[in-house]
Each structure stands twice: as C-alpha cells, then as structure tokens.
Symmetry: C2
Subunit: 305 residues, 2 copies
C-alpha cells in the first residue's frame, strides 16, 4: 500500500478559517491529518496529512477550495513569503510510491484546481516545466503584491489556468519533492538585523549550506526573533551540523538560543542523525529503533493477530 | 492487539549454537525476531523478539530448551556476570499489555521451564517473590561458580525447580520489567583499571545515577575497553545526561570516547530525549515523529486500504 504526504500551506491564521480548512481534510475518506500549525507573525497555516493517491489529491482539493472561498489576499499580511491564498501544495513520497508518481499527483491537483476555480497554478520542484521553476522562490519572486505585473511575463506564464492576476486568490504553486525537515530556532534577541545576519550565514544562496533555506522573523508576543529553516536534503546536510553552525554564528553576536521546534513532523532519520552525532553512535539505523523494528517485523510476518 | 517483548540472554557465542537458538524463535508462529547480538568477550547471546502472550512464552521456551541442550556451563567463560546457560529471560510490556500480565507470563515461562528441564528458576524484577530478588545482581551473586553453595541457602531457594546445583545448566532468572536502554561506549584506552573507575562513577550502587548499571570490559580484538550500561528508567535518567557525565569522567583521565552503540533495540523515546536536549527542542514527543504519526493515524482511521 502506498503512502503520500501532502503539506499544503494556506495564507491564513484566522481561527474559524483554520478549522474549516482542516475539516475538509478530516472529512476525506482514507486521508489522515497528522498535524497543523499556524501563527500570527507568519499569518500562515501549514497542514500535514497522508493518504493513498486518490485520497491525498481529493483532500488537497477540498481543503484548497475551502481556503479559496475564505481567504482574501487583498487584506493579507505576514512575514513569510507567499503568492496566493493556497500558496504551495507539495506532494511527498513516503512509502511504496515514487517521486514520479507524486509529480503526476501534483499535476492532477494543479489542473483540477485551475479548471474548477480559475486560479493560476505553477508547477515546481520535481514537477517543474523549466529549470528555474524547480525553485519555489523563483516562482514566488515579487510575491502576491507584484503578481499582477509578473504573471503577464512569458517566463512566468502559469502551467494551468489563466495568465491573469486574480486579486482575491493570487496564484498557487504545486509540485513534488522529497521529504524535508522544517526547523525553527528562537533567539534571545529582538534585534531583527542580527537575526537576519545569522539566517544569511546558513542560507544556501548566500554562501551557507547547499540544502538549507533560512529566514529571520520577529515574534511580537515573545519579543524575540526566530530563524526559520527548511532543509531540503537532511541526509546530506544533517540537522546537527546546521545547528552547530547556528551556535557558532549566535556566539559571534552574543545571542543565546532559547529554544527550537520542528515545523511540521520530525522525520525519524533526522533524529537518528542527531543522536548518532552527539553520542558518537556507530551503527544506528531506522530498523534499530524498537518501534520501527516491531512495525517492520509484523508487516513482514503478516499473520500476527 | 497486545505486544510483549522478550529479551533472553544465553551464555554462548558459539556460531552454530547461536543459529540453532535463533531458529527456535523464527519457527514460532506469531513471534517476530527483532535482533540478536553476541560476542566473544562477553561470550553471551542477547536475543530480542516480540509477540502476543501465547507466542512470546512459546518462543522463549523453545529457544531455552535448545540452549539448555547445547550449552555446557562447566566450560563457559565470559566477562559478563551470569548464573546459567539460560541466564535471564525478561518479559517487557510494549503495547496493550500491563506489567502485571508480563509477571504472569514470566511465571508461566519459569514454571514450565523448571518442570520440563529440571533447571532451578528464580523470579526477579516485578515478578520477584521477595524485595531482594527484585535485583538481578542479588540473585546472580557468586555467579555460576558459587551456585552450588548459594542454592542450598534458604534465602536463595529457587522459585521453581529443585534447590540443587545443576552443573551443566546452572540456574535461570526470569521476570517482568519495563523497557530499558542498553548502551555501550568504547573508550580509546586498553587500561581496564581506568575503565572500571569510569564505570564506577556512573553505577547506581556506587554513587552514580539511580537508574544506571555500568560495568567495564576489555575488548581484545580492538585492544580497547568498553563501558557497558543498562538504564532501567531512561525517562527519569535520560541517556544524554549519562553520556555527558561519562564525557566528564573520561576527560578526567584523558581518555577519548571512540564510539558507542545501543545494545539491543533503541527506544524511540531515548532518541527523542537526546535530540531535544542537544538541539533545545521544546515540544518533541513521539507523536510528532512522522513515521509514528502515520502509524497512529492509520490505526485510528482503520479503513486505509
């Protein structure tokens, strides 16, 4: 049986809208909600759910139609870059499914969404139709605010839907990518300039780690700053290494690290790499973790009653 | 459905014997072998398997009968304390089963083993019939070599089987306990005296952490020493804290840590605690780990096809 994860990002943190969007996932047969997080400073809702091919596309569409109905981009503000109400909808292979199959799912999702809602849709990641479009940030350049002038450029023509600005909903980006790790680190400073310097040191395009995107944000209710990171290949660029460099850069500015969190689910492999590094463990693999070994043994055994 | 883990320890590292003992577990319906490790310096085989109530007892008995047939304690030498061919057989609650039910399983195992093989059996841990007997080391005091004189003392009367020395097989200890973590750390020194001092600093009875047993061993083929630890409650005494103290003591003697390994399976909770400590993660729980969240969601959902 195949398992696909879908992690749609919606441009809202309004309680009622969050609840209604989430409900669309919960209502979909064979789709299973894993997690959702939202906050005021990003003004963004990140949902994570799994399902088989049919159900992930169905749940992603239902949640997106609800989000398009409820969100009006004309009044949206937030610290996270975004281009539309249904900002980005990645499909991620987890088990018994290839990245190519996830590309097909994203195309199906994008085509249906554009057809039924009239919202322009771009394909990114493994589903991209040109090399530049592999990069989410390239497509999102100028964000919602400049979309009206960007969308009419030939190189920014949507993959599905009209090449025309949709004031209420902006545009949507969908595609397929490998599992990545989202990790936020809170800094004991309210100085966004320092936080931005630290984020820059880690960011791939600014000379940092090749698989890391990092941004700085201010969190008003705590009066601190946060480094938000996504690590696209956490096997090649393990989290402990990113964190150790972050510690080095923080020390430079005398900024304490006051806490951190995974944004979305924590992949087991990322935890294993952390434990293996700090405790110098030679032979730790996923199938040496009790809970996973039991799962694997029982799946193989089959007739455990 | 209930899941019980059983981790029997047998006094052999002879390849053919290992294979035949393991096969008894593999052959048992609804019992699933997770792992087995053995080595010359401990001269000990540690097997880990899971199953439901019926199958764990059945697999434990079958493997034990085979071990009693193949192992002769009169010629056994090894650095790990042991009292018999089937040295210790703990039953551990994993899912949908209480520790009390595991006590019953261990009694059933012990009684049947004694009855069919004539080997004296002691109950320990949660199954102990007196306070001293909760402690494995108390029962194992004097080891196999002094068992002949110990077994006739009233306070060392076996719980099942004859109060008489069995030269070929020694005695067996069985019982129920909670999940614990086994962790071995290799030291870049061949000086066993130093390794023993470091082990002593960690060991509960010698002033160390209350949930830690630690011993030192020499590994001839690598010409190094090893600290072997078992942490009976790794939630109260997390592994990172034990490891950090170990680092402190190693620094005192200028001994490098050259590697480490889990002995048996790594409990997920232990990995989470390590990651949370070193990366200062505030809110990491088992259900925030992707693979576990998927498993839980699908079990709850039921009808995922």
């Amino acid at each position: 049986m195949e398992i696909i994860e879908c992690v749609p990002n919606f441009s809202t943190s309004e309680l009622k809208a969050v609840e209604l969007i989430i409900n669309e996932v919960k209502k979909t047969r064979n789709a299973f909600l894993l997690d959702y997080t939202f906050d005021d400073y990003y003004n963004r809702l990140v949902v994570s759910f799994v399902g088989d091919k049919k159900s992930v596309v169905e749940a992603a569409l239902n949640a997106s139609f609800k989000a398009l109905e409820l969100i009006d981009m004309r009044t949206h503000k937030g610290q996270h870059p975004r281009i539309g109400a249904v900002d980005v909808v990645p499909f991620i292979p987890i088990k018994n499914v290839t990245i190519e199959e996830c590309v097909e799912l994203s195309k199906k999702f994008g085509e249906t969404l554009a057809e039924k809602s009239g919202v322009p849709v771009y394909l990114y990641g493994e589903a991209a139709t040109s090399p530049e479009r592999r990069d989410l940030d390239w497509i999102r350049k100028g964000e919602y605010e400049k979309l009206a002038e960007m969308i009419i450029k030939p190189e920014r023509k949507p993959d599905f839907g009209p090449a025309a600005f949709n004031p209420k909903s902006g545009a949507t980006i969908t595609g397929a990518r490998k599992l990545m790790a989202g990790f936020n680190v809170n800094l004991g400073t309210n100085d966004l300039k320092i936080a931005k310097k630290i984020a820059k040191a880690l960011h791939s395009k600014k000379g940092g780690f090749s698989n890391v995107k990092a941004m700085a944000a201010f969190i008003p209710e705590k009066n601190i700053t946060q480094i938000g990171m996504s690590i696209s290949n956490f096997e090649k660029t393990p989290l402990y290494r990113v964190f150790e460099l972050l510690k080095v850069e923080c020390a430079r500015y005398n900024v304490p690290i006051v806490g951190s969190e995974f944004c979305g689910m924590a992949p087991l492999k990322a935890l294993i790499d952390i434990a293996a590094y700090y405790l110098k463990i030679d032979n730790l693999t996923e199938d040496r973790v009790l809970e996973i070994a039991i799962q694997n043994a029982m799946e193989k055994g089959g007739n455990f009653e």
